[in-house]
Subunit: 568 residues, 2 copies
Amino acid sequence: MKTSELYIRTFKEAPAEEVSKNAQLLIRAGYIYKVMAGVYAYSPLGIRVLENIKQVVREEMNAIGGQELIMSSLQKRETWETTSRWDDEVVDVWFKSHLKDGTEVGFAWSHEEAIIEMLKLYLSSYKDLPIYVYQFQTKLRNELRAKSGIMRGREFIMKDMYSCSLDAEHHEAFYQGCIEAYMRVFNRLGIGDETYVTFASGGAFTQFSHEFQTLCDAGEDVIYLVPSTKEAFNEEIAPAKAAPFEQNEEQKPFEEVEGAGIVGVTALAKQLGLPEQQTTKTMLYAVDGGDKLIAAVVRGDHDINEDKLKTVSSTQKVALATPEQVKAATGAEIGYAGVVNLPEHITLFVDDSCESLINFETGCNKTNFHARYVNWERDVPKPAQFYDIKIAKQGDIHPETGEVYVVHKTAEVGNIFNFGLQKSQDTDFTYTNEKGEQQFVHLGSYGIGVTRLMGVLAEKCSDEKGLVWPMSVAPYQVYIVQIGTDPEIAAEAAKLCEIAQSWGVSVLYDDSDKRPGEKFADADLLGIPHRVVVSTKTIKAGEYEYKARTSTEISMVSAETLAKLLTA
Amino acid sequence: MKTSELYIRTFKEAPAEEVSKNAQLLIRAGYIYKVMAGVYAYSPLGIRVLENIKQVVREEMNAIGGQELIMSSLQKRETWETTSRWDDEVVDVWFKSHLKDGTEVGFAWSHEEAIIEMLKLYLSSYKDLPIYVYQFQTKLRNELRAKSGIMRGREFIMKDMYSCSLDAEHHEAFYQGCIEAYMRVFNRLGIGDETYVTFASGGAFTQFSHEFQTLCDAGEDVIYLVPSTKEAFNEEIAPAKAAPFEQNEEQKPFEEVEGAGIVGVTALAKQLGLPEQQTTKTMLYAVDGGDKLIAAVVRGDHDINEDKLKTVSSTQKVALATPEQVKAATGAEIGYAGVVNLPEHITLFVDDSCESLINFETGCNKTNFHARYVNWERDVPKPAQFYDIKIAKQGDIHPETGEVYVVHKTAEVGNIFNFGLQKSQDTDFTYTNEKGEQQFVHLGSYGIGVTRLMGVLAEKCSDEKGLVWPMSVAPYQVYIVQIGTDPEIAAEAAKLCEIAQSWGVSVLYDDSDKRPGEKFADADLLGIPHRVVVSTKTIKAGEYEYKARTSTEISMVSAETLAKLLTA
């Protein structure tokens, strides 16, 4: 392809309102065009990158038995009502509209329910199993904000796969096989080394899910990595021991300290002359929608993880108690809850970060008063059991190995859900076994954000000069630059394009009349892996000037060497 | 691919509510799944057919310089307001929804305005021209009814191309080149011989457009074909002379005949004892939204073509006059308008089918009265000019050649619009020429309905047993059937699959345990071009049993002959 034949061009500046690096670079280089916030068009170059990514994904999905199909964007209300997911309160990203006769329709943000509904037509017997189907589908999600370029769009391409298995064993084997296939995808895209399979919180149908998280400063997620095992957890579920807080001090006399309206741990610790780790944070929660309260306590430098709290307290739902509920239960205004004077009917859940504290601060359940120099046993009964109910933070420890977590900002590039039988039961999705009995189908769902992956690659594979595509996704493998418009040079450059193509190398040929510096800047911005210059000088030398995008070294090479470099 | 590994299956019956042949066949054979009226999912087999069609289209678009991109489904209001096409009164197929902040968004039913808006970013100089871009895009159209299967969906795939040219000459050359490219597409898909480039009415931005109409009984269109030249017209614009009506009779005395409340030409002709062709039909129209009326007259066996009437009367808008307007203008109730007693202020446009009538019937503009045995000159002034303001009908004549039209039911498979400068002017789409002057861009737009094409092929390429795909779109080239589950037969069939694949032939291998009759029925229903049977008998003979889908002949052939048949 000649650059002169492409309608796109490069830009020195990205649109001012575009804050994400991936969109800035991809717009400047002409890969994408911003239609509106979170909605982008893809140019011929952009499509080549997308198709390269899709092809890698497709090959790996086919290798594990996937069959490609394509579902529809338009969705029926009834399809999603079986699982309550039509409701905007349950799923807040629906775009909806109406047919002419007033029938409400939705635009697919997922296809789980739609796939199940369809497969009910085809799946009847155990002989029909397993079924693994996938699609590359444009999903529409009515996101509140869309500021991450193509990493989180209102319109984006996703590969979603669905597995139907006979029993738990087959299901588990496929699920594991899919994890491996996903890692092969990320390896082939050049980000395997920096992509971790993490434990993540589940959705409506499963307790846990797995995510594939790639190290990325622009990512919206944080993972906690165990250095020795490479086991990784999403922040929201990472089990954690707090970083140790060493105290070599004698027990001091218990004090009540007056302190009205102190906001935040830092101010409180300062006011009381204590390190933050010597304060505690007590939150009262109403459980399961009623007026019954529980108390959750963490060390002052941490926060309470409500999901963990729900698990240890065996409740379905926790909600911060209202000021009225707090007042009714403890007699104090909100902001003074603590383990001192806590009414007995409020069950106490204390994080293990508080177990070894000496002379700590806590609320007195008395308006305007905090307790200082509190000690377990002496001042308040020591709880029989401590829990992990904290949100993990930098410096925390993985409980099983005792290792300090390495914490990374990451972007989710894949997400897989192990539904087991839950979702089949909810949707009445069954088959007949050999004995003629109805059995629920074991289900899994497996997503890869294709356009998001392109965005993550743009974030990670780039430098101050522009994009640096991995070979597996680069829109072209070599950028051939002609310096000057002399017919002899043009002829030589055109000849090289043909030669390179005969080697099986795809070529973007800069035949423009731009100045050499602009052409080199374009080559860098576009991020094509190899650059070859044809000029009077190279023709005279009977060689080519070669530079890899990943290197600053420029060298004169023979045709033979060039062939090796380009086809390596 | 083994049929046992496909999740789909064949059905003896199509869903009862599915009335179109294409959807019935494609659903029964497992190519598509109906999500809701006008919305279908495509199975692995369906995708293969679609991709084959897309690839043919893609190659031909690339060959004329097209660059593939992909726009977004989500559309901004502002993009379409410049041409008034956001308005639901102007475009009645929009699906619309809202962002969380209340901003209205649309889902693309076309991309003309969106493409122009985008290209404004890239096109500035004459040096950037020409630009030819195209995409395969899922369009959403809120159709009132959707009963034609995948021939007219609410969600469908379209190839839409847009051309930006420097001047009229380049524009016209590309436009003609695109017509030729389209015909190459239809030829490669096996329907070139039955596809005609027709003159069609234009849209908002052009007087005429061209359509590509394929003969198809399930089609929604009718074309008028000139036998000798193969020139074709869509019904709504076909120029027409009425079939001659021979009259060998003397002028009879003029009569007024009482006849209240006669409805329809047939009843009127019978009542008056005249052939329908000897009656006339006079319609009064209010022009340009006002109270000024014109009268349009055609021979009784025809109807008035309002588009033609607008052209000959040089009006933008005609609307049938209301009973009140008729009464005010003529003094008569509605239903008695005619050329007798017509007030002079009502301009008369008479179709040329009425020019040579003798002793004809017409309204008297007198409630309850018709005039019989009317003759031009004698009873009413003969108009100075007669026009073609009729809707063409079977038996009519192409005026230029004098040939009787051949009339066909057809399906539109392509549609191209020659906007010239009109649309650029409306959207202020310009470039700077060599002299530094702003010039409007010459624009064209070129569509092919990809899923519709698949539907048309299913309609045309099928028989009572099922589909009969042309080789260029068939999902697989050969259907290999194993008769019996004997391991030796299975091994032999598997070997044949490998051999065929080594010939470059794609194989669908029926390894099921169905009965032979069912397998043959499946092979016919699926419409794979070649069928090869492996059985005890064929193994004994050292040959294969071959049948082409298009033939009833079954023959035993050697491997060598089979290779020739499959790769022909």
